[in-house]
Symmetry: C2
Amino acid sequence: MHHTRNASRVNVAPSDPGPRWLDGDEQRAWRALVAVLLRLPAALERQLQEDADLTHFEYFVLALLSEAEDRTLRLSHLAAQADASLSRLSHVVTRLEHRGLVRREPCPEERRATNAVLTDDGLTLVVATAPGHVAEVRRRVFDGLTARDVAALDRVCGRILAGVDRDR
Amino acid sequence: MHHTRNASRVNVAPSDPGPRWLDGDEQRAWRALVAVLLRLPAALERQLQEDADLTHFEYFVLALLSEAEDRTLRLSHLAAQADASLSRLSHVVTRLEHRGLVRREPCPEERRATNAVLTDDGLTLVVATAPGHVAEVRRRVFDGLTARDVAALDRVCGRILAGVDRDR
DNA sequence: AAAGATTGAAGACTCAATCTTC
DNA sequence: GAAGATTGAGTCTTCAATCTTT
């Protein structure tokens, strides 16, 4: 039917069956949200990749470790905090280990568990990388937002997360 | 799955050097946004994967084609609308082609260009998949939002996109 | 059996190189 | 040379299988 050039259209126009699934305002908002989902991560990724040769996820893992007690966390805890599978985390830690940014240690009190420890080099890298990353976040996201926008963003994200978590 | 603490903390606490880069409200909002960035795509991905064995991106490509004139678009246009590299798109179209959902055709008026055409099977799949996908979007995102929230989401996403686009 | 973790293979994306047409 | 597109190599993520400890 119509050939809107909306990158994020959800309804299928050709045989749009009966009732609209999302109303006009919702469709607009959804398109915008999809675009953010698509492009903001890519922008952050780019900066970290160039500045520190790190994935956003790798940076995130290092940052979590840098804030942990003794710069140490069990892999399973790290995975939970980073919203990742244990498998993914294990692969990532292996990479970071090969770069000397993280070290594995058997966990003293649970012999099944493994701790990831941020090395001095790892800490140095995070400390060196954080300002640029935060500046990027500020430039890309918060510089364009009013205090009211920030409050709205927080509220709306909270509600979306509630929806994502529902029955899982 | 309760995410106890700041899964999305940005500042590096241990040696947080001097001035805060983001104020408290911004940090809260940022954490929430990162969580959405991490988990909403995963949720949508899951549903599409189970229902139609499609990536969200593949679904997106099929949906764009279904809305295009003659269910046909040049790969470069498709790439632009989907915010993807031509390379990525080419790979995806190859996969979809192997599944019989899309067909490649040389573009009549530009002999450099290639058109992607949605096949009947492809259209059938999109039409069959769309309702479930939209329902998922509704359940995960919009059911928890008021009309005011939707307006705020649209506004804030627009401003973030402006930031993402700046100097690129 | 469940929890913590690791590994290898398969799938998807990026990047660079390449080819053709403009 | 630039635009449109394709391809292969390398990288990251997922999935299933496996192993050890509880």
